[in-house]
Symmetry: none
DNA sequence: CATGAATGAGCGTTCATTCAT
DNA sequence: TATGAATGAACGCTCATTCAT
């Protein structure tokens, strides 16, 4: 019996979703540190005290908001590294990077708000609720450097220093994404942005 | 009389400096939103109530911290645009960009902490004390786009879209600077980083 | 039918017992006011909401915890008074007091935790959940005074003031019991403590 | 200049007094755990946040309320021990104990409310704000035992066990004091109570 | 002017109590 | 009937801001 999920479980899932959504919406509107638990609960249509059934504090909510995107990103990075480690020539490299760009773009699109949230709040000291964001940012930068190192080690890429190339790409990507989100790049086809990015990657940032 | 600055004025200037320095130090350590006026005053060696004699609130302090760097940057950008508008060939372009890179680097070095503060806190919604930071960031991005547009208009640069190139450069620069500051680029000579950046600019981000 | 207790009733009794035990254990560990209904229910292995099926609030639980001991004590006191009212000489008095001491000791031993709980929390204003404890303490003191008055009235005891003697005995008893429970009297045979107490009673506290 | 204490200092002292007094009054009325910082501040005629300038939390306030009495008691106990250690005969013992009883009585009278507070809340687990009370109670009981041990060691007192005598005296004293405070001993001259107590002490609780 | 005490709104968190499941 | 999710009033504590000294 009870093949369908019970009402309790349904409510639970719905509440979680509502809290995450409300939190994300408010964080984007007014900034992580300016939003109170009170508001999040109200915006999610529940009582303040109920928030704490679902998240131990604001930091846990932030982690929860980021989690789907972070998990997906980790998977994509892993896959890209696997591909790079098997890559034999420039075409394989192209394929690996292109593939990564594609799935990252898709993941970003599917988690648009979370992505924007990440871009907006991931810098600075990892104090309190910002910790999960900074941790993820660190992870991303380290992964970018690692991927570049692999490509260089396999002789597929020639760069002055893998760290420079990797961070430059990460930085460009971040600001371009924000540009698309905040309207500064309105009218530019996303594919063109992507192409520019991939060009940067493949050209190893040009400096040799 | 009183050609030399009076004792009063000297004190005033010293207090201002102490408050700005203390605020900056604490903002870097623990994040803008986590620092209280109380702490800033204590760190600056003055009484809490005295803070309000010099700054109307935290936002004003932030603006004060950024002001020297922002003024310098505006000057540099202005000069670069002037140079670009008189530039006749690729060499002039090189000179203009190289010059900008140089003075920006110098300004950043002279305002290292303010620069880092800017890089760490300039994103996200412009709420509360963060407003001056976000405003400056907007200004920088708009200026970067404008400079690129000028270069393109004069036929000195060929890019798919000036906005993409400009933002990519801004993003790379930001993350590379942070990388130098947070140790991720330890051991890389700054000149090499700069060269990579200038290469990016001159190559118009490679994508055509 | 249903001469034997039904399953329902069995469960009910078991739940009550579990809640009382859990509450008592926690009250002793951390103090009456520091224990939440939540914890009591969890410790008793039942759901929080279920607590309210058995007790209207914390005060009712406290009353429930004390009830067996209180009822027994009332009976013993009653019996002692009956004995005293029939007592004709010092031997009868000895017998009555000795008997009371014995049954009180037995009751305390049989309700060791409840007794300790009473000793620890029965003072102070009768606010909230503490009310039943304070009420019982008042009852005990009044009874002690009353018993002494009876003995005096019957010419069996000579004291400066029955109230002084009675309260001194009650106070000594309480602290000595606590001393036995908290280890301060480790190594002293309980009978020796009891003898001292009875000596106090019979000597009418010595001051005449 | 400024021989008289400044207005600031005057205010400070007055606030401290008001907070201690307000706290004590409320603790007596409704019990330590039932009183909120909010109420204490309101009762003291100050703002809630101001409470924390003077006391780090409720526990610190309790310690502050107890402190004068505790310090006095420690001094008296010390003096009594010194006297006992020099005592040569029963008369010296009488003097030492009588003296202690007298100064304790005076101290209690001078700190009537604090004394009552101590008597009402010093039992039970030392959780949170109750810690200083329990610590003081432990100190008192240990000191009582120690004093008795000294008297016994010097052959001035003959008791079955110093711990029993000491705790019995402490317990009697406590309950008799409460009895005087809560009206149960109305009409009994305090001197008579004291005499009873001293009789108890000198007779070594009668049990040999 | 400088000081730091006072103010009180507001935040994060808890918990007795109710109520849908 | 049992469960534990939801509610919301408090509570402890903080801190931007004001103001007496």
């Amino acid at each position: 019996m009870n093949k369908a999920p019970g009402k309790r479980e349904q409510n639970r899932v719905e509440r979680l979703r509502a809290l995450r959504e409300a939190g994300l919406r408010l964080f984007l509107e007014r900034g992580l540190s300016q939003v109170t638990i009170d508001e999040i609960a109200r915006e999610a249509g529940t009582a303040k005290g109920n928030f704490y059934r679902y998240f131990s504090d604001k930091e846990a909510l932030v982690a929860g908001i980021l989690e789907p995107m972070a998990t997906a990103m980790r998977g994509h990075i892993e896959a890209c590294r696997d591909a790079l480690e098997k890559a034999l020539d420039r075409d394989d490299l192209n394929a690996a990077y292109g593939s990564l760009a594609l799935v990252v773009a898709i993941t970003a699109t599917q988690n648009l708000d979370a992505c924007r949230f990440y871009l907006q709040e991931s810098r600075g000291p990892a104090t309190g609720a910002r910790a999960p964001l900074v941790a993820l940012a660190d992870e991303v930068q380290d992964a970018a450097i690692e991927l570049t190192r692999v490509a260089v080690k396999r002789g597929l890429l020639e760069v002055s220093d893998p760290r420079i190339s990797a961070l430059a790409v990460v930085g460009s990507t971040e600001v371009l994404m924000l540009g698309m989100l905040d309207g500064r790049l309105d009218g530019v086809p996303p594919t063109q942005v992507a192409q520019t990015m991939i060009g940067m990657v493949l050209d190893g940032i040009r400096a040799r």
